[in-house]
Amino acid sequence: MLLEVEGISKSYRSGSTVTEAVGNIEFGVREGEFVSVVGPSGCGKTTLLKCISGLMPPTTGRTLLRGQVVTEPPPELAIVFQDYSRSLFPWLTVERNVALPLRHRTDIADKDAVVSEALAAVGLAKFAGHYPFQLSGGMQQRTAIARALAFQPKVLLTDEPFASVDAQTRAELEDLVLRVRERFGITVLLVTHDIDEAVYMADRVVVLSSPPSTVQTILEVDLPSPRHQVETKLLPEFGRLRAEVYASIMRDPDAPSPASVA
């Protein structure tokens, strides 16, 4: 197990009220695996991600990365946030944004090559000198992905990375992440509210309940690789898995009504 989430819970206290966002989350991620975490809106997915990554201390429980307890974001971990416009640094070009995290990486010999490779992998080689505001939303998110890639992490956490782009760009970016993960051999944890996406991208799907969230089900996704936006989604197995995830979320009595779940 590369990443182990052990009994994570997170509560917020404001005044005398205590809100339990995350109840008790327990699962593991094997090396090279792609795990999706999906659940109803408001189930604390982002909070969970922040606790796992070390950005936020959990109320109880802990995360182990290669057996070490995570207290601060470890150097082998990179995150792609949902809001790319606030994650990228607007005063730097695409190239400099991607290169910045590599400042002190003595283990990387040829930083320029790594940056070029990352940009080429996401298809932004021609836009290296552009500023983020000159790019579309999809391209900005690709820059954020390139930055994560150049960092050469063992684990990539993504927090609803495609929620802020349109549907077609979303499909492109999904396939991009799958290609890149295949090429660079990265372990990925994807947090999403989109059930189709969760099943399409993953080797395993972790379904969360509504807050205080716990793990409802963990499903194995036995779909052929490489995935294809049309062909994979036409397979009966895809439909079955999708339905199972949906049913699992619906089984939760506190889950919001069908209209509000993607």
Partner: protein
Amino acid sequence: MDRRVTRIAVEAGASAAIIALIWIYTASVDSYAVSPMPDVLDSFRRAWLFDGVTEHIVPSLVRVALGFGVAVLVGVTAGFLLGLSRTASAIAQPVVSFLRAIPAAALLPPAIVILGVGNSMKVFVIAFVACWPVLLNTSDGVRELDRTMLDTARVYGIGGLERLRLVILPAVAPRIFAGMRVSLAISVLLLVTSEMVASTNGIGHFVFLAQSQFAVADMWAGVILLGLIGFVLNVAFEAVERRVLRWHLASRQSS
């Protein structure tokens, strides 16, 4: 290209028209307070081109440069300290609120008593009053930094002084410049005030002296020079701002 040329032509034309109107007005009015334009221009030439440069203009510019420079340095440094530390901010809050509320003019007598009537008094007064807009803008800017941006810095191992230099400073730069623009105007204002109250040279002193001696044309010449200097300083400031905040101004335009 066309629109720009039209705009410049309109601006130049309007300015010329206004100057012409002033010329005609001052020539027609028969009051000691209103000098005819030719007299004012003559005084301007005699006073400032080029004897008055070393005697008055240079000292004034040096004072305002030093005062503004100190104001920015102190404002940015203190602004960062207060913005980054909740405790520091809580402790400093009442002190800052009180000090910045002191009217500038009220500072002059104590400054004269403590520092005399030399350059240090003027630089101190300018710096003391002009630092607040920079300080407050900086500390507000730091406190309002985006959570996601700071999380990103943490994830990618950018911390401490490096984070301050590479992430926080550029992110707060637009706010700092906004504060600096106000500080610049305040600096010029306090330069003139302090020179009028206690000085033996400087443009402010010149204007005050001219008025007290009823050398009205000279007085107007000094006022016009002050206006020009303020204008030039602003243009220079904007040019620097445009260069440093290229990314910011361009992104604002495109959104």
